[in-house]
């Protein structure tokens, strides 16, 4: 697993208040008991950790798929790659 994936999973585990082992890639965020507040807090923590901007505002997820932990990791990997380019 990539360093990015590890960091995202750790953030999700902290914000969902679950064990890291429970955070698997195909799991929808809601299945971890995350409500909308937990999701926005997770987005903020990820932005801080990677110094990226996840384009989510006013509940509009837009082109970014954040439906599962795996989707979130791929989105972050894409944004980190864009930043590096």
């Amino acid at each position: 697993m990539t360093e990015i994936a590890e960091t995202v999973r750790a953030i999700v585990a902290e914000k969902a208040m679950v064990d890291l082992a429970e955070v698997s890639g195909d799991l929808p965020l809601a299945a971890l008991g995350m409500d909308s507040l937990a999701v926005v807090e997770t987005i903020f923590a990820i932005e801080e950790a990677f110094d990226i901007q996840i384009p989510v505002q006013g509940g509009d997820v837009g082109s970014v798929d954040l439906s599962t932990v795996g989707a979130m990791i791929r989105a972050v990997e894409g944004l980190v790659a864009q930043k590096a380019a």
Partner: protein, 400 residues
């Protein structure tokens, strides 16, 4: 009209982690003022305060709660938990639908504001934590108390600077007395001991550098404190029916405005609110056995409050003290912390002292219970709060 009693009390102050500890410290004359442990304290002119030390929210709240609770809200949540537990409240559905909460705060989530201003202005960050707004809003603590305790009746925050908690408790009293609510959680919470919060006060040149000495000739100003106190105000019949222990009865309240100056207090306004609170209680000044003064330790307040008390009570001024000398000026929460001093007087027959008093000021009251608590059986007490901007609120309590 319903009679209104107090059946629960909780607190987090520099003097203790609950109401009992806080009251015991007041009885012992312990001073909670010391060197401030905050970021950039070395840039403060007067780096002292009555701080809640070794506060460890991570041991009391979940990660989610901490992300939503400013320090002021944390104090309020913990104080309310204690108050509800002491009251033994278990509100049935239809009762909870009418029960409510009204708290005072002058600054709301100031720590949150301070931290996020630093982030965007000083650290040049372009994003702040997503819960910045729900943390800093003045009404945050009230909302959390309503959610935690299932209170679905009137819930709102009162902000009248240093009189906030007295106004809040007075409104709670009126709502229970009128029958609008059977039970109200009430009091105040403040956490203004932030770098920005103290700097703002320093600007006014009213902060003491060495200590708080209310009514003393050599007093040099106020010392800020922080904390929360929450009380359960309850319809007496409701309390008796469920066998609750009654701590004291609230018998009178008044609010009155100076319509004078944005910072200087006015003797007429202070007099008017004390007279009106006693009239609301149906009592003469002679009934009062102890006054918890606003007593900030500033030149102006202590002189003018003394003159107002002399005018109302004439030749028979009861013992008066300022417990701010111990717990500091807790700003929007101070009236609620001072209500604990009133409970100490009524319940335990202990009049808390004015600590730090060193020399008589002819312009101030003669008997301010200097430097040591005193035993006295008192039936009735008066608690004053006089805010900047001339917003005055006074409560009258009677022994249960």
């Amino acid at each position: 009209m319903a009679r209104v009693v107090i059946t629960g009390s909780g607190a987090v102050t520099s003097l203790g982690r609950d109401a009992a500890q806080t009251m015991a410290a007041m009885a012992a004359g312990r001073v909670g003022i010391g060197a401030l442990d905050i970021r950039d304290a070395d840039r403060l002119i007067a780096p002292i305060g009555a701080q809640v030390k070794a506060w460890a929210p991570e041991t009391m709240f979940t990660v989610r709660e901490i992300s939503l609770y400013d320090r002021a809200t944390q104090f309020a949540v913990e104080a309310a938990r204690q108050a509800v537990a002491q009251a033994g409240l278990d509100l049935p559905g239809e009762m909870a639908a009418r029960a409510g909460v009204v708290l005072g705060t002058a600054g709301g989530g100031l720590g949150t504001t301070d931290d996020n201003y630093r982030a965007v202005y000083e650290e040049r960050k372009d994003r702040v934590h997503p819960f910045t707004v729900p943390r800093l809003m003045h009404s945050a603590a009230v909302s959390h108390l309503s959610m935690i305790h299932g209170l679905r009746g009137p819930a709102f925050t009162v902000s009248t600077a240093c009189a906030s908690a007295n106004h809040a408790m007075g409104l709670a009293f009126q709502m229970v007395r009128s029958g609008a609510a059977p039970v109200m959680l009430t009091g105040g919470a403040e956490a203004m001991l932030t770098f920005g919060g103290i700097k703002a006060w320093e600007g006014l040149r009213v902060m003491a550098r060495s200590g708080c000495r209310p009514f003393s000739l050599n007093r040099e100003g106020m010392v800020m404190g922080e904390g929360a106190a929450v009380l359960v105000f309850e319809d007496r019949d409701h309390a008796l029916a469920r066998g609750a222990k009654i701590l004291a009865e609230v018998v009178g309240f008044a609010m009155a405005s100076d319509a004078g100056d944005i910072v200087m207090p006015k003797q007429e306004g202070a007099e008017a609110v004390m007279r009106a609170a006693l009239a609301d209680a149906g009592m003469d000044p002679g009934a009062v056995g102890y006054i918890n003064a606003h007593g900030t330790g500033t030149q102006a307040n202590d002189r003018i409050e003394s003159a107002a008390i002399r005018a109302v009570f004439g030749a028979a001024v009861p013992p008066v003290s300022s417990t701010k000398s111990m717990h500091g000026h807790c700003i929007g929460a101070t009236g609620a912390v001072e209500l604990l001093a009133c409970l100490l007087a009524l319940k335990d027959g202990i009049l808390p002292p004015t600590m730090g008093w060193e020399a008589a000021d002819p312009d101030c009251l003669e008997d301010v219970i200097p430097n040591a608590a005193r035993r006295a059986e008192v039936e009735v007490v008066l608690s004053n709060a006089f805010a900047f901007g001339g917003l005055n609120a006074a409560l009258v309590l009677r022994r249960a």
